[in-house]
Amino acid sequence: MNGNFRTHSDDDHDEGLDPDLTLLFDTGSTPGPVTGEAFLNSVVLEMQRARRLRLIRQVASVTLIMVIGALAAPYAARGTLLAAEWLMERPSGTGTATFVSFAAYACASLIAWGIARRARSD
């Protein structure tokens, strides 16, 4: 009855099983309400239904992302433009001062040292 499932030899399973009950379980088999073919068809139908649902969910997710993207795009573009404008309009000396400061020099030196070390180890 369950030959396909057995993973151990029968000796491993003896563990005090009642031989009469064992025999009864081996011989007694309840017929199902549907045939194997009908059962298989119902499983296949469910698989197809699940696949369709998954596809619908994926399409819906992509559509939702696209709609949100389309709605948010003008705001994102406006934000980018404002940021660019702010960068353009701020005092030009600030950037230069940052780059020539001691801290910037120290950072650049550290980065250069790291790159040189890695190049040596390779």
Partner: protein
């Protein structure tokens, strides 16, 4: 849907090859696995639930769950055991959703009417099994019908080994009583 082997080739192929195809997303290969395994899984559920239609629902649920997760299977050769474990989990989830599993003590506290079955019940193993508490029925079915060792049952059901042994011993005694005709 990927397609690796024809229906005819699938029918003749060994299970490991079919499982590999199913793991790669071949639905026909998975259908072949359902065809091969449905008998034992449905029979297991029919032993566990009295209602054959409900048993088939649970079997279908198990096969669908297996289909969704078959690609996570570590070894194609382990498909049978993995599927059976899924079936046991499906059953346990269903039982636990209905009510908490009863302890062995409850086995002794069953009403007397269960101890004196009708003549037809004496001859009907499934009816006798239905008189056992769900966890005892599960242990008995796995031990006698699926030939699983106590340790395997313990691992599959997460019940302590002592409980499994006790369920099997006391459940078998109870079954013998219920099936008095042959005891």
């Amino acid at each position: 849907m990927k397609r690796a082997l024809s229906q005819k080739a699938l029918a003749g192929a060994d299970e490991v090859s079919v499982v590999i195809c199913a793991m790669a997303g071949d639905d026909d290969a998975y259908g072949e696995l359902v065809k091969r395994r449905q008998g034992s899984i449905r029979q297991l559920f029919r032993r566990l639930c009295r209602d054959p239609a409900h048993a088939d629902d649970l079997a279908q649920q198990t096969f669908l769950q297996a289909w969704r997760t078959v690609d996570t299977l570590k070894s194609p050769a382990a498909f049978g055991g993995w599927l059976r474990r899924l079936a046991i989990n499906t059953w346990l989830q269903r039982v636990r959703a209905e009510k908490p599993l009863v302890s062995t003590t409850d086995l002794d506290e069953l009403p007397d009417e269960a101890a004196q079955p009708t003549l037809s019940e004496q001859l009907d193993l499934d009816s006798a099994l239905a008189n056992l508490p769900p966890d005892v029925r599960l242990c008995i079915t796995l031990a006698y019908a699926e030939r699983m060792s106590h340790r395997e049952i313990c691992e599959a059901t997460d019940l302590p080994l002592g409980t499994v042994k006790s369920h099997i011993t006391r459940g078998a005694a109870r079954l013998r009583k219920l099936l008095g005709a042959y005891a």
